[in-house]
Point group: C2
Chain length 237, copies 2
Amino acid sequence: MDEQQFLADYDKHQYDSPLLTIDAVLFTYHQECLKVLLVERSNYPERGKWGLPGGFVDLQRDKTLEDTVRRKLAEKTGVEPPYLEQLQSIGNTQRDPRGWSVTVAYTALMAFQSCETHVASVADVQWLELDRVSRMDLAFDHQTIIGLARERMRQKALYSIVPAYALPETFTLPELQHLHEVLIGKPLQKKSFRRRIEQAELLINTGEKRSEGGRPATLYRMKQTSGAYTFVRNLED
Amino acid sequence: MDEQQFLADYDKHQYDSPLLTIDAVLFTYHQECLKVLLVERSNYPERGKWGLPGGFVDLQRDKTLEDTVRRKLAEKTGVEPPYLEQLQSIGNTQRDPRGWSVTVAYTALMAFQSCETHVASVADVQWLELDRVSRMDLAFDHQTIIGLARERMRQKALYSIVPAYALPETFTLPELQHLHEVLIGKPLQKKSFRRRIEQAELLINTGEKRSEGGRPATLYRMKQTSGAYTFVRNLED
DNA sequence: TGAAATAGTGACCTATAGACACTTATTTGT
DNA sequence: ACAAATAAGTGTCTATAGGTCACTATTTCA
């Protein structure tokens, strides 16, 4: 095959490619419960249904897939999330009524407060409680994707402190523990939890305290050592 | 936006999508070393270089991304691999000279023997020793992808017996241990290794033995309990 | 037949996580 | 002002998993 032939085939191939999108499952923790950011679809297909923030790669503006996700999330929340991780790609003929379609799904975490006003100002974007979401009829296979993201975060809660990215900049250990308990779905031993956190050496004692009707809890901040957020095992996890 | 408008936009979007491919890092273990299946590219771009098996989704034949990978691997090896796992998607403007391009990469494992004759009969397909491969100039970012796949397998070797899929149907524990040692890059304690294997209860003693100039080793077979291949922690890992 | 080679086990030691009672520091109620 | 309630944080015992290494077992080969 010569170069000319290749170029002809290349155009053909590109035209026959599956539809490619990205989707993001953005979690946060607010008022003792896990929430996920959803968008009411204004376009066909699935118009009117709620779905994950996401969309097409902008070939001019985006240099990487992560750029696309960050751009899409910034459009909806006003800021870029402090934690972003690729989850999985899903591609088949069934997930989209238009036929063959591939999505690269991401999981992201951010503090509720850091986008509260922006989200409140936009009508079609909302934080929804995860338990309620699981009973909703979402667009495409977004329910499945949220399930995958949740399971991934459950694993993170067992062996890392990644979930802390869903909290505000400073937070207490009882707060973080409760978030982990919500993710894992069962109570944790206070002592064991704190031992793990301590050994990981990823939190900094801010010196400040916060009281809630009992002994005040110490406020911590994450040591931002680019990516060293897992305890024992890395892998993505 | 009405449905007609959408359809117009849809075509536009599809045309402007990044080029989408799949790639597979297929490992095996033969003669005490790790090997990876590579293909000599017969087409532009990167014609003449060696690269990972993979290619475009066939919108007619494939129903899922996994179908695409299985089809591509079967074309090169004659059989479908017993272990296949999605690794990661990589998409940016740099990885392909043609511009924006996305690949969904998979990791696969299979026994050397199960495709030995097929591979030997095809000129442009070859098992190459991993250490040699790392010094080769491969097509696109395939060197990076192989690195990611290798690291993933290293993690698997620490906490699972997934690497056993790179061995023939029956194998001995010393054999499996050596494979794990090659993946991890350092020797393992015989006793600890065997304890883990035993506790996992994923291997069946075939009753047969195989001798190699000493006490004969027991031959084992994998219990194929769809996906229950990890020890303690699941998730990918 | 005994030495070398390889497979497999016994037994002790250490590190880590679970369990849970205890101490500490604050708020609330009288 | 002081006791009770409430929530944070610690001390310590126990269970379990994994590291270490010497020992036993079964084969081949000279």
